[in-house]
Amino acid sequence: MNRLLIPIVLLAALVVVALRADRPQPKADLTFANLSEVNTLDPQRMSWMHDLRVARILYEGLVRNDVLSADFAIEPAAAESWSVSDDKLTYTFHIRKDARWSNGKPVTAEDFRYSWRRAMLPDLVSDYAQMFMLIDGAQAFYDWRAEALDAFAEREFASTSEQSQAAEDLWDETESRFNEMVKMIALDEHTLVIKLEHPVPYFLDLCAFAVFCPVYEPLVSQYERPDPVTGRLIRRPGWTKGGVLISNGPYKLTVWRFKRDMRMEMNPYYWGKDSLALRTIEIPSISDPNAAVLAYETGALDWIADNTAAYRGDMVADKLAFRAEHADRVAELRAEGYDQFSIDRLLPQDPRAHTHAVSSFGTYFYNFNCKPRLPDGRPNPFADARVRRAFAMCLDKKTIADEIRRLGEPVASTLIPPGSIGGYTSPKGLKNISDANNEEERQAIIEEAKALLVEADYPQDFVVTLSFNKDAGHDLIGQAIAKSWQKNLGVQTQLNQKELKIFREDLKNKQYVTARAGWYGDYGDPTTFLDINHSTDGNNDRAYNNPVYDDLLAHAARELDPTKRMAILSETERILVEEDLPLIPIFHYATIYMFDAHKLTGLSTHPRTKQNVFLFDVLGDGIGPDLPRPMKPASNEHTGAQP
């Protein structure tokens, strides 16, 4: 019998020993769910929204967006001032003398040159390498390096030591080539001069993008060595660990336990540390949306940055019911100019009010394959813009937004969310049955669409396939679209649900007729949306090719006058959403936050959906000013803070 106890004793001992090893840490000043585990803390390698959100806590670029201002104004960050030459090509940044890394060393112009050079190396394969190609000489440098690496791979070497030496030599040459070719000059420790290839009106907004943040060369270069066999820089992970990472932002990383938690503390050398109202920030890694909501409800979280629980539609409905109970007060506050979070703060406390739908810088749409022939060789009816227009007019967008999504998302008639980019006027967009005020108008739109199909000689026996991946309710949206096309246009449809990876491959290879899609903008300029329809763009899944559209984009890139440039871009989008319709905008996304507006302040309601966590203040915790931080009016008309 005693022998039978052996497995039990062994197992029990194991559990006890393992549990002695680690204890949870004390609660941080702010705990929030980022929903996805961080993919990387290397700014030049980032592309995910949840990574960029953390990067803005740890790193600081030359400038940043004032996310609490109505126009998302550019404000000084690591650079205290800057000037732009008259031809809009040369930018001179003056880096503040008190900008410091988290080890106390000064942040210099050289740090930015080193970091941006990383992004321009083909070895590092930065997703956003393209953004750096706006700098004069960057593209030539990238191409040179890529060719040199290919040539290296073909070379024969007598011995491995010779090959290893050649790899080191190639790297030395790369460094000097960068200095010669790329027009990024450090005039002195604190002055950085950047020359662009052509004027880029949104260049400062790009500089505020986290991918443009600096990394600490003495640390990072330890982990990046040329590989003796291929000559490429090999990235060894390790410098982004808690306690190892050196960053220049408001906070420094103290703990990062993979899939478990991330903890940050105030950077004691940060130039603006007096304005910070949180000493510690904790980001537990919670990948299940339901677990995140439960954790919020038990008080373990202060903020959920992206609530994707399947029942969030019901939570939004509860919030609307709460707002309806206080309709008069809400209207009053809105008239006084309060933003949506301030209104929640001024209404009575209620758990239903903790759900917030925030308009986002992204759009859900359906793609048309615009190629003249379909993958199976048949002629493609959707190569004709009239057919695409007819289908776009008869898609019932309102039903999708109001009855399927139920997140208070606005119906979209343009690709770019209106009002999200200062100085840009959105086109009206094509008429749609959702806009009809009555049944008569609706019928008129349908008749017009049917006439377009007749005019374009649309083959009535053609079966329109709608492709989508099976997750996140895309199937319900697909069904609704198929239904509205069947009912209104009398066409035949077929739903084609696919596994995500396959779906993406099909999009890339244009193996579809119509397919669901979405796009989030990266920076505050219309081109962040419009470029994806350029005939040569890597994200042009539609194979849309209109020389007029391409020309207008090129024309806008040459235009120096900002007002005229925006007018050209507006015309470009008009062609897209009123005439050609390679895609049908359906709704603009909303992001669902969970937080208590009575407790947490400093969140932006701007449709660019960028939160700077270092601006947050937990009200009543005795740290920081403990005063509400509402949205400010556009910075050029500052009238002081709201009451």
Binding site: L19, N39, L294, T298, W519, N539
Partner: protein, 334 residues
Amino acid sequence: MIGMILRRLAFLPLILLIIYTITLALAWAVPGNPLENPDKRPKPEVIEQMKKQYNLDSFPRFYISYLDSATGLRYGRDWASGRLKNDRERAEIAGFPPPTRPVFDFGPSLEYDDLTVNEIIRSSLPVSITLGAAAILIALVFGTFAGVLGAIRPNSWMDLMTLSVSLVGISLPSFVIGTVLLVVFSLWLGWFPVAQWGTLRSMVLPSITLSLPFMAYIARLTRMGMIDVLGADFIRTARAKGAAEHTVLLKHALKNAFLPVLSFLGPATALAMTGSFVVERVFTVPGIGQHFVNAVQNGDRFLIIGVTLVFATMLIVFNLIVDVLYRWIDPRIV
């Protein structure tokens, strides 16, 4: 016995090589470029560079280069050529700890840029082993107990009750049980924390959820074994010589009835200790189970191979341990 252990261990590398080859071939067939952020596609030349970086453009090159680093050959070469020493000296001059290089390098994670597969396994496997050990412990104690109770009076209300509990344990999926436990005990009663790991309290609900299917199976196995054994001659002999009922049950009967449970314990322990995707997700446990699913979804080829090799190794090792225990508990087996 030692000969058997050595023989079995000698086969381990060969088995792992076969598993590696099959896993890689399957992982290679998954479409898509694992290095891309699916929503934002870089230019084609950048995609080209991405693939070259990790030999993802050529199956044979990947196959060889992975074996080279996973078996420690690459480390050996770099050590012999003095490259390791050079890197260490450079780091010392700069005043930073040198990058760590494991001898057996399972490669980088393609999805989590800042981590190696070694690090992911090192941080998540201990968590899963702890949780798995607790779950098997619960399953073993309560499962055996329930099985014995059922066997003493077959078809009594006690037997029916353990049967129905077992049925629930086997047939209800763990995301249902887990969520119910979470809502009742964490949200309503507030006894246990949500989305936390590291304390005994935070382990209670996930280990119970994870143990239920194993518990149910062990209960059925024990009951069957006991009913069989209780009818045997030597039990009648034991009773006839006047042994106390609990001695008969525990010493004579259970020892023999336990053998099928023991052989089930090998694969069960390996399975429990390599984590469960569902339990880890519901309770936010940072274990290794999630990577079996996520790595495939993300096409993270290095990680797929890494976790598969870990699972295979655990399965082989635990079966070996069970075989050793078996011989020890029941000397009749040679």
